[in-house]
Each structure stands twice: as structure tokens, then as C-alpha cells.
């Protein structure tokens, strides 16, 4: 069992997301994260799903997804060299004084941006792969994370290769 990154090109129609998400639940596949947005083709959306399962299950996931009429293409890019990012917004308790300085120092180390400063909190925006965000989250926990929002992973192959070229 390992996380697989599945990229699904779908027609941008009502109900498409529930069809895709419903299929995962129904067949007992666990979605780790899901990110949806428009893409380079008009009228289409791309869904990036991270699914934790072994290779045979993933094969079944892909085949089942392909059966959905609104699904155009399903690509597992796990084993293709690819770049992957997610964004997290983290609201951290940061009383003026030493803890605020420490939080800001950590943010700097992770190349996170401070996008809001309140009387007792700061909001950090951090971009990176899942591991980097997990690491920052862990470090910030001691200061008190008030709220955390993550986008879910998005990914594409490196170089001139595109998702659509990938089987």
C-alpha cells in the first residue's frame, strides 16, 4: 500500500465530482486528498486524487473511473517523474513577543509567506510537497495551530511530457 497520484480529466458537467467521489467510496477506495479545477481544455476539469492502495487496487480504480461516461482520461502518474505541490493556510497563535518571532523565523525557513497578521495570530501560506507541509505543521503545533486548510495535492510530469501523454 502506498499513495498513488491519479490524474483524471473529466467533462465539466454537473454531478461529475459526485460520480468520481462516489465511485471511490462505493468500491472501498480511500481518498487521501482530492483537488479539482479547470484545465487547459475548455469545458474540461482535471481532478488530482491521492489514493492509498496497492497496485492491483489502483488498476481497478482506473478501470472503474474509465467506465464513467464523463471521464475522458485517467492517468496514474505515481511512477512518472513529476512535480507535485499543495498549499496550506495555517493560522498560528503568535502572541507579540518571542513566540511571534519564532513563528516568523520558521515561516522564513520554510519559505512560507505571512499573509495576515492579527493581534494574537498570524496566517502562513506554505507551498510544497506533502512532506514539507507536514513538517511545518508539526513544528508549528507547539505554538498552537488555530486552523489549518490544505488544498490537496496537484501534480504534473516533469519535462515536456504531459499528463495526457501518460498512459
Amino acid at each position: 500500500m502506498r499513495p498513488h497520484t491519479i490524474s483524471v480529466l473529466v467533462e465539466n458537467r454537473p454531478g461529475v465530482l459526485s460520480r468520481v467521489a462516489g465511485l471511490f467510496t462505493r468500491r472501498g477506495f480511500n481518498i487521501e486528498s482530492l483537488a479539482v479545477g479547470t484545465c487547459e481544455e475548455p469545458g474540461m476539469s482535471r481532478i488530482t486524487a491521492v489514493v492509498i492502495a496497492d497496485d492491483e487496487i489502483i488498476e481497478q480504480v482506473k478501470k472503474q473511473l474509465n467506465k464513467l461516461i464523463n471521464v475522458i482520461k485517467v492517468s496514474d502518474i505515481t511512477y512518472t517523474s513529476h512535480v507535485a505541490r499543495e498549499i496550506a493556510l495555517i493560522k498560528v497563535a503568535a502572541e507579540p513577543g518571542s513566540s511571534r518571532a519564532e513563528v516568523m523565523q520558521l515561516a522564513d525557513n520554510f519559505r512560507a509567506r505571512i499573509i495576515d497578521v492579527g493581534a494574537r495570530t498570524v496566517v502562513l501560506e506554505v507551498t510544497g510537497d506533502t512532506g514539507k507541509i507536514d513538517a511545518l505543521e508539526k513544528l508549528l503545533r507547539q505554538y498552537g495551530i488555530k486552523e489549518l486548510v490544505r488544498t490537496g495535492k496537484i501534480a504534473m510530469p516533469r519535462g515536456s511530457k504531459t499528463i495526457s501523454q501518460k498512459k
Binding site: 454537473p14 454531478g15 462516489g22 462505493r26 481497478q60 478501470k63 467506465k67 464523463n70 471521464v71 475522458i72
Partner: protein, 559 residues
């Protein structure tokens, strides 16, 4: 200037629909108003579940897409079981439902239910229409999706205002359908086909394991050619009955939980299993690790998602079963004569046949089905309910052709048979249509007696009445220490009920009367109910206990 309802009905006619099964209600009033003077025949059922089962029976008997119509809310929800039935058995059905007006959608309006949401996991595809301009194109697409590839039910949900809205421009129905995300593979991969041919040529103990896909694709002649040319024994699933005549010397009978000894032993001992349009269902395979343990497996199927789903296969071929079998036959030159394998199977077959002989001195269900089979002599369409009645019919009727056998295989829907028989009879009015029923299942859609009386649809219902939910009772007997928890059902006067609906009937208690009673029901011009009071604790044998390997069969009733 045409309304959505008008376009809908015209589109159905354009698709070649002659009959729809339905039940009116508030949100389909505009459609019913169009039907009032349309050329389309509408059969008014007495419960929406019967409408979808009838459409399903119509589709299975005829090979054409079946159509049903129901109103929003409860009407649509009553279709759910039937849609799931059609989905599990890959039957082409288009279900049309009314919906509350688009202005009320999502407001919990009167008789509103999110039927596209509810049926998402049990439809091949579904549509919720927003605009009258979508009606014609959607109907065309829906029929295409339902009736091609791995067939299945498609639902079209039409809000009432879309039915009444007027289309200003002329209605255009596209000649061809192209759907980017739906391009079923029809032709098998040539290299895979070549490999299959050489595997078949090299096998010493091959078996063909044949499912409903052979019937759906119309590939029975190609199957027979392959089997006869290479002397390959054939076993069919419940859904595959009729793909090869029951009496064909190469036919081993059904495999799986209630399969024959010959079929289950053959699969266990074969060195090559050729799965054709079948899906390795748990009722077929029993314990997966022990299913065809010594065999290489070729799997031919239209649906790539079935390949390797339950059982790893050595050679998959995705595409239309008929096309692929034709290609395989072309590659397999020469003939083969009887081998030691065939002789071995012949011995098992003889044993199975001996065990299947029945005592005509008792009211056994096996005797009744065999008597029916003898009278019909290869003709007729056999529809069943679900449970013991279904298995006795599967085991003891002699099938001669595809589409002669209509049963809810995957979902196992009690109450399916009677309405499905109505659909089959409407599709094939010249055929004798029999519903082999149990007293439990028949009561699940018994209200359709009103429908058969209303239209004089000549379905003959043969109730194998043991006053039990027999199959559940059988499991309780064998695996729950005879604790018959809530499976006994006190006697019901089915003949009295039939007569009250205006349908003729007869109760049969003496085995000597069985033949005459069946003949009388067949001679009767119209529907008929036969209430056979059978041996109450008769079991379906052989039986593979759940989770056991298929060669670990209970062969005989210990009673």
C-alpha cells in the same frame, strides 16, 4: 414549435420504441398528455417497480432497449430496485422519470427526490435535464449508451417545466453519437486472439466458462462452433443458460453454488479455462483460490474492468464476445476428436444426470419443471422469481436457445419474475411465457395480476408453493440447525386471489394432475395461475456451501 414532452415522445418513436411500461403522476402529466394520442403503446402497471422489471424483461426477451416511465419522488424511488437489477445483469433499459420544475429543484418540494443522485451507483449513466433543447439529443445518447458496450440502465430525469417549455428552433437529432468519454472496445487485440488460439490448440483439458455476455453479444453460434470444432466442454453461468442447448453433448450444465458435478469438477481439473462474457461472480467461483486452480485462464469480455477484478487471468481479450470468438475460430484451423478428457467428463455427466432423475410419484418441484419442459419441448420463454424456484428452473428446464431464460442473476431480486414475464410477453406475443415462481416472490409483485387481466397478457404463473421462503429455509436447515426463523408463510389461496383479479387459476396437489394442469393453463387463452402445493422441505441440490471450493459439493438431500 414543440414542447419538451412532445419532443420526448417523438424521440422515443425515432429510437424505434414500440412499447413503454409506466405509471402516471403529477410531474409526468405533460408526457402522459402526449402519450394519449401517440402511436406508442403504453402498458399501465400497478406499481412502478413492475414497470422497470417489465422493461427489463422486454429487453432480455427481445434484445432491444426496454423503456419505463414514472413520476418524481415515490414513483422514481420505486424504480430503484429494478434499475439495480438491470445494472447487475447488464440489461439495456432507459428509465424516464418526471421531476419537480427546475425552479423548485433542491427545495424539498412535494414529491421531489434526487433520483439521479440516488441511482448514481446503479446506472450506467444518468441525466438531469435543464433545458428543452437537450431533450432530443439526450434521448439519442441514452439509447446509445444503454444498448452498446457493456449494456445497462440509463436514467433521464426531466423536470416538469422542461416538459412544457417550447422549443423555438427545429428539433435536430444527430445521426451518429460521439461521446468522447465513451468508446467501448469492440475488436479484440489481434495478438491476444492469436495467443488464445494457440493456448486452446495446446490445451489437454480445456473448458469454456460461458456467461450472459455471449447472449448479450449474440455470440451463441460462434461459441457452438468453437466448442464443437475443438471438442471443448461448455459450462454456463446462471446468466449464460441458453447460450448452448441444454441437451448438447458438450454441455456440462451450470457451474457454481448449485451447479452440476460435471461442471464443477471439470473447472477444478481443467488446464485451460476460457471465460467468455462472464465475471467470476462469487456464486460461481466459491472459494477463489480453489477455482480452476490448475488452469491457465483466458478471459474474453467487453468490460475491461472485469479483467482481473476477482481472479488474475493469463490472457485477457477485451472486446465484443461475438467478434472475438469469430476471430479465434478463424485462427483455429483443423478439428479435434474426442480425448480422454471428454471421456472423463462423459462419466461425470452420467452421474449428474442420474442424480437429476426425479420421482414422479411426489409433488416435487423438479418433477413439475421437468414436466413443463417436456410439454414445451424446447419452446417458450422461462422467467423466474428468485430462490429455490429459480434454481430448480435453471437445473431442470431444457433450454434450446438464447433469450429463452430470463432471471435476476446478479441482484437476486424477489418479485422480479412476474413483471419481467409481462415485459417478455409484450415483446414476444407469439411465445408462451411462463413465470416460475415461489409463494414468497410471487407475493412481492402480485398486484400485477391486475395488469395481465387488464391487457389479457397471457403469462402463465407456476407457483412452486411450499409455504416457506424456501431458499432461506434451506440455509437455515443446513447451516442454522433447522431453526426456521421467520421463513414460514401460512398458506395463501392464490387461485382465489387470481380470480378476484379476473385471472383463471388452479390449485394442484396430486402429482398425477401436474401434466394436465400445465396443459390446461397453456391451452387457456389468457393469463393463468397454477398453485402447485409442493413437498415443503425439498432442497436445491447439489449445493456448494458459501465459502467452500466448488468441488466440495453437498450432492444429495440427507432427508
Amino acid at each position: 414549435m414543440k414542447t419538451g414532452a412532445n419532443i420526448l415522445v417523438e424521440s422515443l418513436v425515432h429510437e424505434g420504441v414500440d412499447t413503454i411500461f409506466g405509471y402516471p403522476g403529477g410531474t409526468v402529466l405533460p408526457i402522459y398528455d402526449e402519450l394519449f394520442d401517440s402511436s406508442l403503446r403504453h402498458v399501465l402497471v400497478r406499481h412502478e417497480q413492475a414497470a422497470v422489471h417489465a422493461a427489463d424483461g422486454y429487453a432480455r426477451a427481445s434484445g432491444r432497449v426496454g423503456v419505463c416511465l414514472a413520476t418524481s419522488g415515490p414513483g422514481a424511488c420505486n424504480l430503484v430496485t429494478g434499475i439495480a437489477t438491470a445494472y447487475m445483469d447488464s440489461v439495456p433499459v432507459v428509465a424516464i422519470t418526471g421531476q419537480v420544475p427546475t425552479t423548485l429543484l433542491g427545495n424539498d418540494a412535494f414529491q421531489e427526490s434526487d433520483i439521479t443522485g440516488i441511482t448514481l451507483p446503479i446506472t450506467k449513466h444518468s441525466y438531469l435535464l435543464n433545458n428543452v433543447s437537450e431533450v432530443a439529443k439526450t434521448v439519442h445518447e441514452a439509447f446509445y449508451i444503454a444498448g452498446t458496450g457493456r449494456m445497462g440502465p440509463v436514467l433521464i430525469d426531466i423536470p416538469k417545466d422542461v416538459q412544457t417549455d417550447v422549443m423555438d428552433e427545429p428539433v435536430r437529432v444527430p445521426e451518429t453519437v460521439t461521446i468522447r468519454g465513451y468508446q467501448p472496445t469492440v475488436r479484440g487485440h489481434p495478438r491476444q486472439i492469436e495467443k488464445a488460439a494457440s493456448m486452446i490448440a495446446g490445451a489437454a483439458r480445456p473448458v469454456l466458462y460461458v456467461g450472459g455476455g455471449v447472449i448479450a453479444s449474440g455470440g451463441d453460434a460462434e461459441l457452438l462452433h468453437l466448442a464443437e470444432n475443438r471438442m471443448i466442454p461448455v459450462t454456463t453461468t446462471l446468466m449464460g443458460l441458453g447460450a448452448i442447448p441444454s441437451h448438447h453433448p458438450l454441455n456440462l450444465g451450470m457451474l457454481g453454488m448449485h451447479g452440476t458435478e460435471s461442471a464443477n469438477y471439470a473447472v477444478t481439473e481443467c488446464d485451460l479455462l476460457i471465460a467468455v462474457g462472464a465475471r467470476f461472480d462469487d456464486r460461481v467461483t466459491g472459494k477463489l483460490e480453489s477455482f480452476a486452480p490448475n488452469a491457465q485462464i483466458i478471459h474474453i469480455d467487453i468490460d475491461p474492468a472485469e479483467i482481473g477484478k476477482n481472479k488474475a487471468v493469463d490472457l485477457p481479450i477485451v472486446g465484443d464476445v461475438r467478434q472475438i470468438l469469430k476471430e479465434v475460430n478463424r485462427k483455429l484451423t483443423g478439428e479435434k476428436c474426442l480425448s480422454p478428457w471428454n471421456e472423463r467428463l462423459a462419466e461425470w455427466k452420467r452421474q449428474s444426470a442420474e442424480r437429476a432423475t426425479v420421482d414422479s410419484g411426489l409433488m416435487t418441484p423438479q418433477y413439475i419443471v421437468q414436466t413443463l419442459s417436456g410439454i414445451l419441448d424446447g419452446a417458450g420463454i422461462i422467467v423466474t422469481e428468485v430462490g429455490q424456484n429459480q434454481m430448480w428452473a435453471a437445473q431442470h428446464f431444457s433450454f434450446t436457445r438464447p433469450r429463452q431464460w430470463i432471471t435476476s442473476g446478479g441482484l437476486g431480486t424477489m418479485g422480479y419474475g412476474f413483471p419481467a414475464a409481462i415485459g417478455a410477453s409484450v415483446a414476444c406475443p407469439d411465445e408462451t411465457v411462463i413465470d416460475i415462481a415461489g409463494d414468497g416472490s410471487f407475493q412481492m409483485n402480485i398486484q400485477e395480476l391486475a395488469t395481465v387481466a387488464h391487457y389479457n397478457i397471457p403469462v402463465k404463473v407456476m407457483v412452486l408453493n411450499n409455504q416457506y421462503l424456501g431458499m432461506v429455509r434451506q440455509w437455515q436447515e443446513l447451516f442454522y440447525d433447522r431453526r426456521y426463523s421467520y421463513t414460514e408463510m401460512p398458506s395463501v389461496d392464490f387461485v382465489g386471489i387470481a380470480r378476484a383479479y379476473g385471472v383463471e387459476g388452479m390449485c394442484v396437489t396430486d402429482p398425477a394432475d401436474v401434466k394436465d394442469a400445465i396443459e390446461a393453463s397453456l391451452a387457456h387463452d389468457g393469463p393463468y395461475v397454477l398453485d402447485f402445493r409442493i413437498e415443503r422441505e425439498e432442497n436445491v441440490m447439489p449445493m456448494v456451501p458459501a465459502g467452500a471450493a466448488i468441488n466440495e459439493m453437498i450432492l444429495e438431500d440427507k432427508k
